[in-house]
Symmetry: C2
Subunit: 189 residues, 2 copies
Amino acid sequence: MNIGTYSYEEYVHLVKSFHGSPAPGLLIGGFIVDLALKNLPDGEFFDALCETPVCLPDAVQLLTPCTIGNGWMKILDFGKFAVTLYEKSGGEGVRVYLDAEKLKRWPEVMNWFLKLKTKKEQDSDLLIEQIKEAGHDLLGIQHVRVEPEKLRRRKMGQVSVCPSCGEAYPVKDGDRCRACLGESPYVRE
Amino acid sequence: MNIGTYSYEEYVHLVKSFHGSPAPGLLIGGFIVDLALKNLPDGEFFDALCETPVCLPDAVQLLTPCTIGNGWMKILDFGKFAVTLYEKSGGEGVRVYLDAEKLKRWPEVMNWFLKLKTKKEQDSDLLIEQIKEAGHDLLGIQHVRVEPEKLRRRKMGQVSVCPSCGEAYPVKDGDRCRACLGESPYVRE
């Protein structure tokens, strides 16, 4: 069983080095992205959409050219374990998701995914084993279409220097930068 | 001039393979993260905060253990070219930013950063050359403190199966998943 252009073992190695640990979500995520890549609609350039910020975006970043920094990967905070790869201009895409129905055959994956057991109660070796054995069998696939314009990152537009902090910021944010307008994440001391 | 544990050339190679192109923002981003890493306050575990989603998050992901998927990197959409690395529990951190004042010595970087020239008018070889030559000289550094709790990713909480689509979703989102509650990014056909 390969994941993208990697063997399963190579992918696990990559995951450890990039993500820090071979998280179950990232192992399943590898199969999700792999299945999507194998079912791309026609087209040359694809963007990615993750329906959760947890784990899955790292599988996309490891296995496709789409990253958070280059803007080709978009993240929705829906808490759904699904990835869509869609053609950049027309929006035709393939969506791959973890199919709750299919979990019944893989009880330890179900326990983990639906949080039926606490982390302590889970048998993590069995979980990893079932994920590897199940591979694509855990997944569902749908043909979808998105409106690429709606998902595109807004252009930064004109840049100016903030009169409060002296740093560059996008003029569209107002007469000063968002941090100086009161949204600074830093504590004044 | 090294960037993290890489030579400049190794870093450029990594950037091309991960991000797709040696974008100026990611080259400067490399120096930003490098300078932050060299000025970490005391502590063992650090999270990262990017003040823009553009380019910079990929420098963080390449040079630190923090990624979007593992939740150790947080992104603010402030359009500011700054990265903070902060100690996970206390919030003491170092913030490195592109200092608009210092741009005057590097005119092609200034033209690019403040958008004084269009992409077509820019001399991209000169831009890359000035970025490499300038290195840390473009940057400013501040000691800051954040409230880690405020930046932490919300826990997913209890999971249930959405009665509309049959997929798992976080119960905190309501009686069905956000997609079925009307936020679906997909076009009905």
